[in-house]
């Protein structure tokens, strides 16, 4: 290696380190904000954001990294919620056990739906997931245990591990935050693992990935099931927070809403879904309580259109692009 090359290599290494350090500073700052947030904003509202953020992160794992647009993710959110609610109110299990069972139910459903759908691509994949989710919706509408249209109510928040009283909003918040961070880390590890690299390769060019000897269907299935499980985890946690589970979560509008969140935040970015979920939930919340209450749907539609036309990379994606081109 010539001296010049060595210096260059060292410089690159140095800037990489610096970038890395910047990243960790950013993470630490975000964590700090998350920790003090419930003292600055209404905790129940923050928990709602975190639940939807986890849901959107799970969805983004599939769309952003495997290139699969699912139009049926509401099914997993609802499944997690209903089963958690059911075991908590019927068998009086502690919330963490309830959440585990709900997540497991969503994982099972995800495996089933995944096997049926991952062999298709693009629009067909979107449509078959939509169809399957419609059947799930029908099941929950008909099944007795869900309470049908009225929903499942009065689910006790209970005591975490039988010890910590979750009826306190602050304890509940930190628990939800922990669940979110867990889900977020799982996704972060997945994306940066060799598995995640193969997923991206499949997204870019499935035929090439196949010719390199990867069993692409197996990879996509694992991604699908993981995404379903995390969506279920979000639904389960949400049920504990709000003490109810309802058909709203199973409706196809919910599948559309998670697309909106991910799109607004930035498809295929780590923080995009978090930012998108926070944005959409806040906008909906603020609008529905304002004088513009009856225009909520119109404004959400406008956001969709503007997003697609002008900033397709989403809030986080556009910021990243801006940073890249200005602060190399």
């Amino acid at each position: 290696m010539t001296p010049a090359q060595t210096i260059k290599a060292n410089l690159t290494e140095l800037s990489r380190q610096r970038a890395n350090r910047r990243k960790w500073v950013l993470y630490a700052a975000l964590l700090l904000v998350a920790l003090i947030a419930p003292f600055l904003a209404y905790p129940v509202f923050l928990m709602k954001i975190l639940c939807f953020a986890l849901f959107a992160c799970a969805f983004n794992l599939l769309l952003g990294y495997a290139g699969l647009l699912s139009f049926g993710h509401a099914a997993f959110l609802a499944t997690g919620g209903y089963y958690t609610g059911y075991v908590i109110s019927q068998n009086s299990v502690t919330p963490e056990v309830g959440i585990l069972i709900g997540t497991f139910a969503a994982t099972v459903l995800g495996t089933f739906m995944g096997v049926l759908s991952i062999r298709r691509q693009g629009i067909y994949f979107a449509m078959i997931t939509l169809a399957l989710a419609q059947m799930v919706f029908f099941f929950y509408l008909q099944a007795d245990f869900t309470g049908g249209e009225d929903g499942m109510h009065g689910i006790d928040r209970g005591h975490l591990f039988g010890l910590i009283d979750l009826s306190n909003n602050l304890s509940m918040y930190y628990f939800v935050l922990a669940v979110f961070l867990f889900g977020f880390l799982v996704i972060q590890r997945t994306i940066h693992s060799p598995f995640g690299q193969v997923l991206k390769a499949i997204r870019e060019n499935e035929a090439r990935a196949t010719s390199l000897g990867y069993n692409t269907d197996a990879y996509k299935l694992v991604a699908f099931v993981l995404s379903a499980a995390l969506a279920g985890l979000a639904g389960s946690t949400k049920t504990v927070v709000f003490q109810l589970a309802s058909l709203t979560d199973a409706h196809w509008h919910m599948s559309g809403e998670v697309v909106l969140m991910t799109l607004v935040g930035g498809v295929g970015t780590l923080f995009g879904p978090l930012v998108g979920a926070a944005f959409v939930v806040t906008v909906e919340h603020q609008l529905s309580q304002s004088a513009l209450g009856d225009w909520v749907n119109v404004i959400l539609g406008l956001i969709f259109v503007i997003c697609v036309l002008t900033f397709r990379a989403g809030i986080v994606g556009e910021i990243q692009k801006f940073m890249k081109s200005n602060f190399k």
Binding site: M127, I128, V296, N297, V305, C307, V308
Partner: protein
């Protein structure tokens, strides 16, 4: 009395006929979707809203300007089709070069906007549009009472469906369209104005939706939400028929109408779900749909 699967034969025939009539609506709507998908490769999520616009256009024409049903049958699709042309020209064209998923998302947003605006303007309860004078009443077929208007719907809808099929498959204009679907770049090289073709195609697909809306106005409540639930059923029809296949959309529309109609007799609770069940089975065994070409 002869029985078919536990239902009196007369009632069975009646349900078949009603299923066919509903199927004609599905055929018209899925035809529009299929044409749009064929050339633009996008799923038009605003199709339900545009169907609703057609019904509202007819209602407004009658109540504001006193324009009757027969004129509205031409005028409403023309007006709504024109809005479709604008949507393609100023919105969809700007994203034509990127992943077609964005087209789906854009039209999804449009559907929210259109439906929301009409809800605020006209409320959700809906409005009545009277059946045109000439088509009031009905005939007794022996096994059922058939309103003349329903008979008219099935006749005109099928005529339009097959007319459009003929135009696409057998005429020169249709040839351009098919060629544009196969290879737009080559078409451009041959001096065909492909962007114009795309714009007009979208407008035409939208006009078909609006036409179905006008047909629906006298038999359903003209309400902002009338297209929203119909839409995903029609999606399923298009997927089952094979995306972009014209004849597939028409025949599947009719077939699904009948299947849904029979479900309403044997297991009515599932009548909104049965089409999705069919769709899953079809996609498992014929991934490109019943009439689609293998990808």
């Amino acid at each position: 009395m002869t029985m078919i699967f536990g239902v009196p034969a007369a009632a069975f025939y009646g349900q078949l006929l009603l299923g066919l009539i509903n199927g004609a609506f599905y055929a018209l709507l899925s035809l529009g979707l299929a044409i749009i998908f064929g050339l633009l490769k996008i799923i038009n999520f605003a199709h339900g809203a545009q169907y609703m616009l057609g019904a509202f256009a007819a209602w407004l024409l009658l109540n504001m300007l006193g324009i009757n049903y027969w004129t509205a049958l031409f005028l409403a699709p023309l007006i709504v089709g024109a809005t479709g042309v604008l949507v393609e020209r100023f919105l969809l064209r700007r994203i034509a070069h990127i992943d077609h998923i964005y087209g789906l998302l854009l039209t999804f947003g449009l559907a929210l906007i259109i439906q929301g605006v009409f809800t605020n303007w006209f409320g959700v309860s809906g409005n009545r549009y009277a059946v045109p004078e000439a088509l009031r009443g009905g005939m007794n077929l022996g096994f059922m009472f058939l309103p003349y208007y329903r008979a008219w719907v099935v006749v005109i809808a099928l005529a339009v469906c097959f007319g459009v099929w003929f135009m696409i498959e057998k005429t020169k204009l249709g040839g351009y369209l098919r060629a544009g679907t196969e290879n737009p770049a080559l078409m451009q090289a041959f001096g065909i104005n492909v962007p114009l073709l795309v714009t007009l195609t979208y407008g035409f697909g939208v006009a078909l939706a609006a036409f179905a809306g006008v047909l629906a106005a006298p038999i359903y409540s003209v309400a902002p939400g009338m297209g929203a639930n119909l839409l995903i059923v029609v999606f399923a029809v298009v997927v089952i028929g094979g995306m972009g296949s014209i004849m597939g959309a028409i025949l599947t529309g009719l077939a699904m109408g009948i299947i849904e109609g029979l479900t309403k007799v044997y297991y009515p609770e599932a009548s909104n779900t049965v089409i999705f069940l069919v769709m899953i089975f079809v996609l498992l065994f014929r991934p490109s749909g019943l009439f689609g070409k293998e990808a």
